[in-house]
């Protein structure tokens, strides 16, 4: 991922470490700095080997995904009901006149 463009907490990997940590980043007009707790000082963001996502974005993404999943599950429920209805209509036992069928199909569409 690219260098952070706004202040906040980010996933990041320090030089010499394989594990990801979280770092506080501050962005102003001239520079992007990352706080290094090991040295208790701010360092240039370019000292970080690899940048990950913004932590606040992760939390927002979870909310977004949960909402999308809820909507998708609602759509699946509606479509299953439509398939059930159409299957019932299509069965030989169902006595629907051609006119009634046309009305039902307009409703299904």
């Amino acid at each position: 991922m690219n260098l952070p463009t706004k202040s906040g907490w980010y996933r990041a990997r320090w030089p010499g470490y394989t594990r990801w940590s979280c770092v506080a980043v501050t962005v102003d007009d001239s520079e992007v700095l990352a706080y290094d707790p090991g040295f208790a000082r701010w360092r240039p963001a370019s000292d970080i080997v690899e940048w990950g996502p913004n932590i606040d974005s992760l939390e927002a993404e979870i909310e977004c995904l949960r909402t999308e999943l809820q909507l998708a599950n609602d759509t699946i429920t509606n479509l299953r009901a439509a398939v059930d209805t159409l299957t019932t209509i299509a069965s030989p036992d169902c006595k629907v006149t051609p006119l009634g069928l046309a009305v039902l199909l307009r409703g299904a569409q």
Partner: protein
């Protein structure tokens, strides 16, 4: 195995599980000051008269939600979202509005709000309104949080408020993405089925 035997087995397993908790976690759970006050009712027997079998409850300030199965004196046997039974004190319970399905999203928090494993967690330090990320280390009975301000490790109770584990959050995102992808595939298939059936019936109608 009868339902009663299953419940007994589950309770035994849970007791064993609690015995394996690190000392700091058991200490935190038994320390009244770490618990939020009940949202409804005050304390003591207030809950006894209010709660009934089938109610959904939270245990103090934990994110987990349980369903009450039966009462045993001052405790209630509750089931968690995965069907595990636990015997917990009624006085610590807070009634949750809705039912297990409407509140299910809260159950996705995988661990107690007090961290029980090493890793990065969201946390709020005393005197700060913004959330930070802190490194927690859990080794045997010892658990501490690193304070970069003072460059030293401090007890977990020094944190004002705990949030989710960052690793758990990332794992949940992956899980939700997969579920969403599967749901979208199902929608595509169902739409194709609706189209096919509509076409067939359209022909019949003509």
């Amino acid at each position: 195995m009868t339902p009663r035997d299953k419940l007994r087995a589950s309770l035994r397993a849970n007791s064993e599980h609690v015995r394996q908790w690190p000392a700091w976690l058991r200490a935190a759970i038994s320390t009244a000051e770490v618990f939020a006050p009940n949202q409804k009712g005050t304390e003591g027997n207030g809950n006894m008269n209010r709660l009934k079998i089938g109610d959904c409850v939270r245990i103090s300030d934990y994110a987990h939600i349980y369903t009450i199965q039966r009462f045993i004196g001052a405790c209630a046997v509750v089931l968690d979202a995965f069907g595990n039974a636990l015997e917990l004190p009624i006085v610590r319970m807070t009634l949750v509005e809705g039912n297990m399905s409407t509140v299910k999203s809260h159950v996705t928090v995988g661990s107690y709000l007090i961290p029980s494993k090493t890793g990065w967690h969201r946390a709020r330090w005393p005197g700060y309104s913004t959330w930070a990320c802190v490194l927690v280390t859990v080794t045997g009975a010892e658990a501490s949080v690193y304070d970069p301000g003072t460059s030293r490790w401090r007890p977990l109770t020094d944190i004002l408020e705990w949030g989710a584990s960052i690793e758990d959050t990332e794992a949940e995102i992956e899980c939700l993405r997969t579920e969403l992808r599967l749901a979208n595939d199902a929608i595509t298939n169902l739409r194709a089925a609706v189209d096919t059936l509509t076409t067939i019936l359209d022909e019949v109608a003509r």
